[in-house]
């Protein structure tokens, strides 16, 4: 989405979201908290996996680490919540650096990388569930937020920040390097792109952004245990939303997150019995029709409406 009208739409939307709490109901706020959370998560997943092609099936690891860093620092150490959120970012960043040093310094096969990340998430979940000091499997109870607006604004700014970062990186020299890695990693390396530095930086950035989201949600829930903090569905949702919207694009994960959380919410209140089945069928239908996700649908519609020329078929997951 480029051009003056698109910019106008985005500015208007952000202004609307900033002022919404003035008249929005408590239900609207809590619904938007989960939408904004997923925009931030899907966008962060896309920052690494969408730009480099290394699909991570365990990026929710950083969500859980962030949640636990927050829980431990505010409940057990009685530190200020702001310190807890900063700590969540720091812990996620360190974990991402360590994992990156092991996994991303070689050209590991994408499928193996994906499954190792899933495995690490499960290992950490089990280990946390067996540490008595952090409440084992019964978890930690956290003093609740004074108002849900804190979570709303925090996640709003995080979601906007992630999307803006994604846009800036895509249109920078660094973004060109990532594009080269996505298309052909060996060729990129031979041409002088620092592939390890590019992959590491994006992986750490992605993890560092997901950690604070986990911290804020832990505060918002006012309770965490290993099974909700390291729930595999958090990891899977990011992937599904990004691919549904359009992998590697700036607006794809945003659209995917908004539409999937919206559809899920609408279906689960109107037809609670069958909502997961209908949701699955919808996802299937879209991907079989347009494997590039919603952004591909957008491009097709845009072309039909404006009657513009057929764009050259893009290589790789554009």
């Amino acid at each position: 989405m480029t051009g003056a009208p698109a910019k106008g739409v985005i500015v208007a939307l952000v202004a609307l979201l900033l002022m919404l709490p003035a008249w929005g109901s408590a239900y609207a706020i809590s619904f938007l908290v989960s939408v904004l959370l997923y925009v931030a998560l899907a966008g962060s997943w896309n920052l690494f996996s969408g730009t480099t092609g290394y699909a991570s099936l365990g990026q929710g690891l950083f969500f859980g680490l962030g949640a636990y860093a927050f829980g431990v620092s505010t409940v057990l150490l009685k530190w200020h919540p702001v310190v807890g959120i900063v700590l969540a970012a720091a812990v996620s960043a360190v974990a991402a650096v360590l994992l990156g040093l092991v996994l991303l310094t070689t050209r590991i096969r994408v499928a193996y990388f994906a499954i190792v990340m899933l495995g690490v998430n499960e290992v950490v979940k089990t280990v946390v569930a067996n540490i008595k000091a952090v409440g084992s499997s019964s978890g930690l109870t956290i003093p609740p937020l004074s108002t849900n607006l804190i979570a709303y604004y925090f996640l709003l700014f995080l979601a906007i920040g992630v999307t803006a970062l994604s846009y800036l990186i895509k249109h920078s020299r660094w973004g060109l390097g990532l594009k080269a890695i996505l298309a052909d990693e060996v060729a990129a390396e031979v041409t002088g792109v620092g592939t390890v530095a590019h992959k590491m930086a994006m992986f750490v950035l992605s993890g560092t952004l997901i950690g604070p989201a986990g911290a804020m949600i832990a505060w918002y829930w006012s309770y965490i245990d290993p099974y909700i903090a390291f729930d595999l569905s958090v990891s899977f949702d990011m992937v599904v939303m990004s691919i549904f919207g359009g992998v590697g694009t700036v607006m794809g994960p945003v659209l995917g997150a908004v539409i999937i959380s919206g559809v899920k919410e609408a279906l689960s209140t109107s037809i609670p019995q069958f909502h997961t089945i209908i949701f699955g069928v919808l996802v299937l239908g879209l991907i079989l029709w347009c494997p590039g996700g919603l952004m591909q649908v957008y491009r097709i519609l845009h072309r039909r409406i404006t009657g513009g020329p057929r764009p050259a078929r893009s290589r790789g997951a554009q």
Binding site: G53, A55, V102, L103, T106, R107, I108, R109, V110, A111, Y112, I115, V116, L118, G119, V120, E122, V123, T126, V127, A129, N130, L182, A183, D184, E185, V186, L232, F236, V239, V240, I243, F244, V247, Q273, F274, T276, I277, F279, G280, V281, V283, L284, I287, L288, P291, G292, R315, G316, A317
Partner: protein, 296 residues
């Protein structure tokens, strides 16, 4: 630990390991001919398990009779999935990376649909079959007859798969397609038909595994994913396309889990498999070219 306990743990491990190997063989076959990581593979196993459970509970049909039924129905199910879901994707002319992304999300949707359909139809209740539970004594060991049946069936199916893949024309075609699709096509192999059959046979193996699992494990609608992940571990450690390796890796994982849960507690049973998987991939990605991506 005395010898009897040791042997007992070993035997338990072998029973589970054989089951893992069977599921992984199906996953491996599908990956070989289609280059698809079927994340809903465990759901086919779940369907096979429910089929066996209901036939047994409603009409007292022996699981040994349900077993071929489960195999045939999952074969047909696999073929239908291929026709309905993979064929339309292939028509889009996607790059390898795009195809991987699309199939991942497609089978994730299949997983969601099958899980919630099972939940609606059969509820989340734990289902157990009490079949051939009487103990059989082998020397100092006492083991339920059903566990021996599981091991026996796994060995029979593995042997049949081995002979089929090595000595029949279809088996040779499947191996050729797994090794090199382009060359296989040049040699006159109908790659698409082999893909279809491979997907069907892989799914049938999941159905058989489900039938077996229903006799020794509790069945729930969400049982599938855990088995898919274990099968993936076995497939990676055993080697893509290697049947002997898969069987060996499956048995090793089963035995490892059995000993881990005895010495460290049941909560560490699944963890031990993950640790092996991670360590193995990290080690191999630094030493073996097979674990390094060539072209994305």
């Amino acid at each position: 630990m005395d010898v009897t306990t040791f042997l007992q743990l070993l035997l338990f491990g072998v029973v589970w390991g054989g089951l893992y190997a069977l599921i992984a063989t199906g996953l491996n076959l599908i990956y070989g001919v289609m280059k698809i990581l079927n994340i809903a593979h465990g759901e086919l196993m779940m369907l096979g398990a429910y089929l066996t459970y209901w036939l047994f509970t409603l009409w007292h049909v022996s699981p040994l009779i349900s077993l071929p039924l489960a195999a045939v129905s999952m074969f047909v199910f696999g073929i239908i999935m291929q026709k309905l879901l993979i064929d339309p994707l292939l028509r889009h002319n996607l790059s390898m990376g795009e195809f991987e992304n699309a199939t991942l999300i497609v089978f994730f949707a299949v997983l969601l649909i099958l899980q919630s359909a099972a939940l609606l139809l059969w509820t989340a209740d734990y289902r157990v079959i009490s079949y051939a539970s009487h103990p059989v004594h082998i020397g100092p060991l006492a083991v339920a007859a059903k566990r021996l049946i599981v091991v026996l069936v796994v060995l029979l199916v593995s042997a049949a798969m081995y002979l089929g893949l090595q000595h029949t024309l279809l088996g040779k075609a499947i191996r050729a397609v797994s090794q090199d699709m382009t060359t296989a096509r040049l040699m006159g192999i109908h790659v698409k038909r082999i893909g279809l059959l491979g997907f069907g046979i892989g799914s049938a193996l999941a159905g058989i595994a489900g039938s077996l699992a229903s006799t020794i494990y509790v069945i729930t609608p969400t049982v599938g994913l855990l088995f898919t992940i274990k099968a993936f571990t076995v497939m990676v450690v055993g080697g893509l396309g290697s049947q002997g390796g898969t069987l060996l890796a499956g048995l090793l994982l089963g035995v490892l889990e059995s000993f881990a849960s005895f010495f460290m507690g049941a909560e560490y049973k699944d963890l031990s498999g993950y640790v092996v998987l991670i360590a193995f991939i990290v080690w191999k990605s630094r030493t073996s070219s097979a674990f390094v991506s060539e072209i994305k």
